[in-house]
């Protein structure tokens, strides 16, 4: 079958006045910023030829809050609440990178119990974030029920976080030198019971959505991102792993105490279509939740008693110098570049966000897709606009 569509075929001839009236042109549509399928305030200007996207241009900046400049005027402890607000669906992971970066510069030892709590929290957060992806992605593709199932499980995680930190989304829980509160043994048992339940639920969700024929038809062979393209754009996280690249910072460049845990890196295999399509990215995220469960189980076994806060000076002043530290967040690699001039506030704080790089792939992925497939592509790279715009 001829799979090429020639746009604007020469139906017009200069001599025919009738064709002058009937000339065709591309239609420009604004998708967003209040479009429910763009996950936040992303505006994509798409040019369409009937229902096929010819060109897509993302426009950013609707959620720009001047985080990097503002961080230069608050002290190192005060930056953490703002760090939360970048990727508000995975705030724990955002805090983890920042606090490790400051601790490394400060030379602070983090107590071992705090390290374990950090791992438990950030893996729970990864599950919560992927569940959110799972729910909203199903909504993008027209199924509403999975969203409610996902939120039911996510609610438990948020409840645990609310008990230990006091907030549901923007925790300010990982502090420089440790964590704010200790976890009680009751909470640890509840997490352990939750994991047992979660293991079965995940299989159920995968059967309900991932192996559904309609879902496969909508996602397999859609938005194919091959390995070269993923590398050339600097894609990270599940998007890169979905293209079949075995790269996970937790495994390859362990930070915190991730080298103590035994888990697998999930890569896309092209099970339902081409390697690197939307279904592969879905598969990577679903299976990654299982790996997170594995990590938390090991952490619950290995957790030791002790203090949760290391020795940190009352007023934090970093020595002169700079650091670049990256961590594996649910959406990809997050890098913090902190430059200090020896003062109470950062001289410069630059954030390398994975969502931003993933958004930049849209113009390359979009051409030739149907509009509905383009929605599926945006959903599958799972961007949070708070992190894109900062």
């Amino acid at each position: 079958m001829d799979n090429q569509i020639v746009i604007n075929e020469n139906i017009e001839s200069p001599n025919d006045p009738e064709s002058e009236r009937l000339k065709t042109e591309l239609l420009t549509i604004n998708m967003g910023p209040q479009h429910p399928a763009t996950h936040g305030v992303l505006r994509v200007e798409i040019q369409t030829d009937s229902e096929i996207v010819v060109k897509a241009t993302p426009h950013l900046g609707y959620l720009h809050r001047c985080f990097e400049k503002h961080a230069e005027s608050v002290d190192y402890r005060g930056v953490i609440p703002f760090v939360d607000r970048m990727d508000y669906l995975a705030a724990m992971n955002m805090e983890l990178g920042y606090s490790i970066a400051v601790e490394k510069m400060l030379g602070t030892e983090v107590p071992i119990r705090a390290e374990y709590i950090r791992v438990i929290c950030s893996e729970l957060q990864r599950i919560a974030s992927h569940l959110m992806y799972f729910g909203t992605y199903a909504i993008d593709l027209g199924a509403f029920t999975p969203f409610l199932y996902a939120f039911q499980e996510r609610e438990f995680i948020l409840r645990i976080f609310e008990e230990i930190s006091g907030a549901r989304l923007l925790y300010n829980y990982f502090w420089i030198g440790g964590v704010w509160n200790d976890m009680t043994s009751d909470q640890l048992t509840r997490i352990s019971n939750f994991l047992d339940k979660m293991d079965g639920e995940l299989d159920k969700y995968h059967n309900l959505v991932g192996l559904n024929k309609i879902f496969i038809e909508r996602t397999a062979n859609v938005g194919v991102l091959d390995e070269d393209l993923a590398y050339s754009y600097g894609a990270t996280g599940p998007v890169l792993r979905g293209s079949g690249v075995d790269w996970d910072l937790r495994k390859k460049r362990p930070y915190s105490i991730y080298d103590k845990f035994d888990f697998d890196v999930i890569v896309g295999k092209g099970l339902q279509g081409k390697l690197g399509d939307c279904w592969d990215r879905y598969y990577v995220r679903m299976m990654e939740m299982k790996e997170s469960i594995k990590i938390i189980r090991q952490a619950l076994e290995g957790i030791e008693d002790g203090p949760v806060m290391g020795k940190v000076p009352k007023i934090i002043k970093l020595p002169e110098g700079e650091i670049y530290l990256r961590t594996e967040c649910p959406r990809g690699e997050l890098g913090y570049h902190i430059i200090s001039d020896g003062g109470k506030t950062p001289y410069r704080l630059k954030v390398k966000s994975s969502c931003f790089t993933h958004t930049s792939m849209l113009p390359d992925l979009a051409p030739g897709q149907m509009i509905a497939d383009f929605v599926a592509t945006i959903g599958s790279i799972d961007i949070v606009l708070g992190e894109v715009d900062r």
Binding site: I5, E25, V74, R77, G78, P81, Q152, E163, G166, K213
Partner: protein, 175 residues
């Protein structure tokens, strides 16, 4: 204008044989039944999880961070909360206490050397990060679990904690 612009669609059509056609139908029906089984289980055997908010109110965990409350009698006007606040939403002013005035102490025995003349928190600016409550030396500034205080204007979100109205409200909330 776009005459020579070709766009390759991302469809990958394989030849559809009769066997594949029926196989597709079989897979679709099977996955549909599988999904319906899961959903029907939720209809009949799973308990309800939704909370109907205004009628049923969930009790928040004890250290949940909601509206701030300052117990002004125990405040020593040390300004640590205002310094720690990353959004600068706490406004404090205090005068030096007269030497002749009777000496007063807070609940935990810290002498009060300054008279508080203003303690206002703009809750519209507050980001509920909890940094101010952790630095408070006399534990007079706390997060309460009260979350129902929507107001009609932004000005009403400024709470003056020396106001007798709010001090009465304290007995209702503070643990």
């Amino acid at each position: 204008m776009h005459a020579d612009q070709d766009v390759v669609t991302q469809d990958h059509h394989e030849e559809l044989t009769l066997k594949k056609y029926f196989n597709n139908i079989w897979v679709a029906v099977r996955s549909l039944i599988k999904g319906l089984k899961i959903t029907s289980k939720y209809i009949y055997s799973e308990p309800t999880v939704s909370i109907e908010y205004p009628e049923v109110r969930e009790v928040l965990p004890e250290n949940s961070r909601s509206r701030l409350f300052n117990d002004a009698e125990n405040c020593i006007s040390c300004l640590q909360c205002a310094t720690a606040c990353p959004v600068d939403c706490i406004y404090i002013s205090a005068n030096k206490r007269d030497k002749e005035a009777p000496k007063i102490k807070t609940k935990d025995g810290t002498p009060i050397r300054l008279d508080l003349t203003q303690y206002t928190i703009d809750t519209a600016l507050c980001c509920y990060c909890g940094l101010c409550t952790t630095v408070c030396p006399t534990q007079c500034l706390t997060h309460t679990t009260d979350y129902e205080y929507a107001t009609y204007t932004l000005g009403q979100m400024k709470f003056d904690y020396l106001d007798p109205e709010i001090r009465r409200w304290r007995d209702r909330i503070v643990k």
